[in-house]
C-alpha cells in the first residue's frame, strides 16, 4: 500500500475544486514537502525535483475539478509527481548525466546525521531506474506489480531493479564499492 500522505481536510479539497486559490495554497503547504522529497529522492537532483514539484502542482490546480475524491488527494498528487519523475528517468538526458550530488539539507539533520547523510549520498549514486524502484517500493509502498505497470515494464523487472539497488546501496554504505556503476550505464541499452 502506498505511503500515506499528510491528510488534507475534505473542506479544503472542496474549496480547491471550486477554484479557491487559498485552498490551493493550503494543499501545497501540506503536500509540497512530500512531493518535493519524493522527486528529490527519485531523481537525485534538486533542480529536476523543483521542476517536478512545480509541474505537478500546476497540473493539480488546473485539473483539481476532475479529482473525484474517491482516493486520498495526497495519493492522487503523488501519482502525478511519480509519473513526472518517471518521465525524467526515462529521458535520455537523465540517463546520460552522472549523479548530481546536491548538498544535503542540513537544517533537517539531527541525531543520526552521519548515517542519514551517508544513506542520502548512497541513494543518489544508485542508477536512476533502480533508485526510482527502491524508493517507490521501500518508501512509497508500491508493489512490484504496480511499479512494473508504472514503468511500462514487468514485475520481474521491478524485482531485479530493487535487488540491484539494494546491492548497490550495500556496497556504498559498507565502503566496498569496487567500480563506478554509473560509468557502466548506457542509455541506448537501457541498463540504468
Amino acid at each position: 500500500m502506498p505511503n500515506p500522505s499528510p491528510p488534507v481536510p475534505a473542506e479544503i479539497v472542496d474549496r480547491a475544486r471550486s477554484g479557491d486559490r487559498a485552498a490551493h495554497a493550503e494543499i501545497y503547504a501540506a503536500l509540497g514537502g512530500p512531493v518535493f522529497t519524493l522527486a528529490r529522492r527519485m531523481l537525485a537532483s534538486k533542480s529536476l525535483a523543483e521542476d517536478v514539484l512545480q509541474e505537478t502542482f500546476v497540473e493539480v490546480i488546473c485539473n483539481i475539478e476532475r479529482f473525484r475524491g474517491d482516493a486520498d488527494i495526497g495519493t492522487w498528487i503523488k501519482r502525478i509527481a511519480i509519473n513526472k519523475c518517471l518521465m525524467h528517468v526515462r529521458s535520455s538526458w537523465v540517463s546520460r548525466r552522472g549523479p548530481e550530488i546536491d548538498e544535503p539539507a542540513a537544517e533537517h539533520r539531527s541525531g543520526h546525521v552521519d548515517d542519514q547523510m551517508a544513506l542520502e549520498r548512497a541513494l543518489e549514486r544508485v542508477p536512476d531506474v533502480a533508485r526510482a524502484v527502491v524508493w517507490l517500493h521501500d518508501v512509497e509502498g508500491f508493489t512490484h506489480a504496480e511499479i512494473g505497470r508504472l514503468m511500462g515494464r514487468t514485475t520481474s523487472f521491478s524485482k531485479s531493479q530493487l535487488a540491484r539497488a539494494h546491492g548497490r546501496l550495500r556496497e556504498l554504505l559498507e565502503g566496498t564499492e569496487s567500480q563506478n556503476e554509473t560509468s557502466l550505464c548506457t542509455p541506448e541499452l537501457k541498463t540504468c
Partner: protein, 173 residues
C-alpha cells in the same frame, strides 16, 4: 550484514525536505500561463468554428434550399393546355417558349448533383437539340405543317420532361 547496511531499512526515516522558496510563485505563474493558453485555444477554436459555420451556411443553403413553390404551379404538361389541331403548331411553339422561360427562371443547379440526374438532363438536352435541328431543316425545306407540328409536339414533351427533371434536381434528388 554491516551495521551501515541496516540503514537500507531506514529509507523511510530520511527527513522530509522542504520545498525550495519561490516554487509556489512559479506554480501560480504556470497556472496563469495555462489559463491564458486555454482561453487562447478556446478563442481560436471559436473563431475556427465561426469560419466553418460561415462557410457551411451557403453550402447548406445550396444543398438544402427548397424549390420555389410557384415553380411547381407553373409546370403544366403541354397536352393539357394545347388544343389538338393537326395543322396548327403555333400553340406548341407558345408552350415551348413558356417552358424555356420556366427553365431559365429555375435556380442554378447545385454544385454537387446526382450522376443519374445529370445524365438524364444531358440526354434530354441532346434530344431537344436534335429536334431543333429537325425543325430548322423542316423550315428550310418548307415541310408540311403536320410534320412540323409533330416536331413541336415532341419538343414540348421533351421540354416538359426537362423542366420536371430540373425541378427534381433543385429538390436534391
Amino acid at each position: 550484514m554491516h551495521a551501515r547496511a541496516q540503514d537500507l531499512l531506514k529509507l523511510r526515516e530520511l527527513p522530509e525536505l522542504a520545498p525550495p522558496p519561490g516554487v509556489w510563485e512559479r506554480v501560480l505563474e504556470g497556472v496563469g500561463a495555462r489559463a491564458v493558453a486555454r482561453r487562447l485555444r478556446r478563442r481560436v477554436a471559436l473563431a475556427a468554428s465561426v469560419v466553418v459555420a460561415m462557410a457551411a451556411v451557403p453550402l447548406a443553403y445550396v444543398l438544402t434550399r427548397p424549390a420555389a413553390p410557384p415553380t411547381v404551379t407553373l409546370i403544366r404538361l403541354a397536352p393539357d393546355r394545347v388544343p389538338w389541331d393537326e395543322t396548327s403548331y403555333a400553340p406548341l411553339m407558345v408552350e415551348s417558349a413558356r417552358l424555356e422561360r420556366v427553365l431559365a427562371e429555375m435556380p442554378a443547379p447545385p454544385p454537387l448533383v446526382v450522376g443519374t440526374t445529370s445524365g438524364t438532363i444531358v440526354g434530354l438536352e441532346d434530344r431537344i437539340a436534335y429536334v431543333d435541328a429537325q425543325l430548322s431543316y423542316a423550315a428550310a425545306r418548307h415541310l408540311a405543317p403536320r410534320y412540323r407540328r409533330a416536331l413541336w409536339g415532341e419538343r414540348v414533351e421533351l421540354m416538359n420532361a426537362l423542366v420536371q427533371v430540373r425541378f427534381a434536381q433543385t429538390q436534391g434528388f
